[in-house]
């Protein structure tokens, strides 16, 4: 009897979940497996009838050091941007969640998520206008300062980092904010009643309890930044060649899809490897 209901339950569960699985199959699994398939080909079947299977595309990553160098450059960029987002975003979330109350909090929250509402291209070009030589930033600084100042920010790594931090900062603020906001006010009051200073409370209570949120935000920033190509290309100029732009070139300019796909999957593997290596640390921080 129980077995019967169990199997009936299972069937109903399957029926209820099938739309979600169907959607995942169509939207994620099929395109991804097509790409995986392409990455093992010499040519796209629709372009060249003489296509054959090969490991060459992956071998090129190992034989040509340029790819590994660019990968390392992208990982470094990811770490830098993530660090920047954490250093700016966590204090913002802290102030937003623990000190500001009522209407002001809603308004500030809106300002935080505003970057999400604007087109990313518009956002990047706005930064270009601000950062470029003789641009808005230099004008403003020279108007304020008594001496002439040349920042030369445009087409540097700094410009790329600034643009990326601006784009991905909301993730860290949002996840940290949610974690911080869930902390019971009484915990802070209890710590204060025992004589703890603000810094002690941050270090021993707020930070440990909100760390899962902060780490989730950091991962959400790190993964897409390693593969980013738009910000490096527009704000980095000559300096803006990264692993992400390399992949984009394979798809858009060189039209070598198999190599682009192979490079993408290599990136995916490297990112997963990094997260897997970091997970013991992340897990430890959680307890």
């Amino acid at each position: 009897m129980t077995e019967l209901t169990a199997s009936a339950d299972r069937r109903r569960l399957f029926a209820l979940l099938s739309p979600a699985y169907l959607w995942l199959t169509l939207a994620v699994f099929l395109p991804l497996s097509a790409m995986l398939f392409f990455s093992f080909l010499t040519d796209l079947p629709q372009d060249n009838p003489d296509w054959s299977a090969t490991f060459d595309n992956y071998a090129r990553f190992l034989t040509n050091p340029t790819y590994a160098i660019l990968m390392w450059k992208s990982v470094k960029l990811g770490l830098m941007v993530t660090l920047g987002c954490v250093l700016i975003g966590y204090p913002c979330a802290l102030v937003l969640a623990r000190t500001i109350k009522g209407r002001a909090r809603e308004t500030l929250f809106l300002l935080v998520i505003l970057p999400f509402w604007s087109n990313s291209l518009v956002r990047i070009f706005s930064w270009a206008i601000v950062l470029r030589g003789n641009g808005m930033l230099e004008h403003a600084l020279n108007w304020l300062l008594p001496f002439e100042l040349r920042l030369e920010l445009m087409f540097t790594t700094h410009a790329v980092v600034i643009g990326l931090i601006h784009s991905y900062l909301p993730y860290v603020i949002l996840t940290s904010y949610l974690a911080l906001q869930a902390i019971d006010d009484d915990l802070v009051d209890a710590a204060r009643s025992m004589g703890a200073s603000k810094l002690t409370i941050l270090r021993r209570i707020l930070l440990p309890l909100s760390l899962p949120g902060l780490l989730a935000g950091a991962v959400l920033v790190f993964v897409p930044v390693v593969g980013s190509f738009m910000e490096p290309r527009i704000l980095g100029g000559r300096m803006g060649t990264y692993y992400g732009t390399l992949i984009e070139d394979q798809f858009v300019s060189v039209y070598n899809w198999p190599l682009g796909a192979a490079l993408s999957f290599t990136l995916l593997a490297v990112v997963l490897l990094i997260l897997a290596c970091a997970s013991p640390i992340l897990g430890k921080a959680r307890t």
Partner: protein
């Protein structure tokens, strides 16, 4: 351990006056309950003594130190919260040791005092557990150990027992009283539970609308309430209708006073008894509750309540006409 003195303290939140010129003294080593309905300002008074917010006017002394401008971190208090507020990311021992570590107590001394405090609340074996692995009563004890381990000048309790179920609450009341006696710490306890206030404290302060209504030992506050609010808030009160006043022996002249009788002071009979005050009424309901029973009697359109041992209440037959008798000295006179 020290006496706490609150003088002419006023506290506003925007337009609402939370504390209105409150003056109250808590003597050294006493167990004091602040009692009042919700919104009466009792928690505000406690948090003002703790230093979570500052009063607009007035003075607060803890021991021989004026603290009205001292923030909570520097007041040297111990506090227990309604939901325990244990740090979920720390073990029981680390929770208890938090205040010691903040005070930079040496490691060996810290371990000794943590063990001592946990022993006092009978949780010595639980030191390495997490708060999430403890039952409600155990968390309560950890919170208490954490509040007293630093030897604060005063222990402040904000409805600490209200989250426990009834049997556990009674156990904890006894435990709390024992520990308070053992270490002799001045304790101020906020509650809305009248029975808890009467059981635990040496003195009770009753608050209403941000003012202190009455202060005194539990028995005095219960037996001689100053006004109708206190009489009705601390237990039930049966109000004597004016038409009966001339027929009763009253503790004082009737002008400007109302008179009431506690339900347990009444006895029910089919006749008026000699030397007793009495009113006539009609028994409408008798509620059996094991050892005790409650009777509802209608007196001149008012509902009177009688509480007595079930076996002491006579069976009433017929239409339920009864006399309610009580000793003249049990009549309570309160400001009208």
């Amino acid at each position: 351990m020290s006496a706490v003195d609150v003088q002419n303290v006023t506290k506003r939140f925007g337009q609402t006056v939370a504390l209105d010129d409150v003056s109250i003294s808590f003597e050294d080593g006493g167990f004091f309950a602040l009692l009042g309905p919700s919104g009466s300002g009792k928690t505000t008074l406690l948090r003002t003594i703790a230093g979570f917010h500052f009063a607009e006017t007035g003075a607060i002394r803890i021991g021989d130190r004026n603290v009205e401008n001292v923030p909570v971190e520097k007041r040297d208090i111990g506090m227990m919260f309604q939901n325990y507020a244990l740090f979920p990311n720390m073990s029981v021992a680390d929770n208890v040791g938090f205040g010691l570590r903040v005070r930079k107590v040496a490691a060996a001394e810290e371990r000794r005092r943590i063990a001592e405090a946990l022993e006092l609340v009978q949780l010595g074996a639980m030191a390495e557990r997490r708060p999430s692995q403890l039952s409600g009563g155990q968390r309560q004890r950890v919170a208490l150990a954490r509040a007293i381990v630093t030897n604060p000048k005063v222990l402040l309790l904000d409805e600490p027992l209200s989250a426990l179920d009834k049997t556990l609450r009674v156990d904890m009341q006894i435990e709390l009283k024992r520990i308070q006696r053992e270490i002799g710490i001045t304790t101020i306890f906020v509650t809305h539970d009248q029975e808890e206030a009467l059981t635990l404290s040496d003195r009770i302060g009753i608050l209403k609308d941000g003012r202190i209504v009455q202060v005194g030992p539990p028995r005095e506050v219960y037996d001689k309430p100053v006004d109708a609010f206190t009489a009705g808030f601390l237990g039930d009160a049966n109000w004597v209708p004016e038409s009966w006043l001339s027929a009763l022996r009253l503790p004082q002249p009737a002008n400007g006073h109302s008179f009431a009788v506690r339900p347990e002071a009444l006895s029910m009979a089919q006749a008026r008894l000699d030397g007793m005050n009495a009113v006539a009424g009609r028994l409408t309901q008798r509620v059996f509750a094991g050892a005790m029973a409650t009777c509802l009697i209608e007196v001149e359109g008012q509902k009177w309540k009688l509480i007595a041992r079930d076996r002491d209440i006579p069976e009433i037959t017929g239409d339920g006409a009864v006399w309610l008798n009580w000793r003249p000295e049990d009549t309570m006179a309160v400001r009208a």
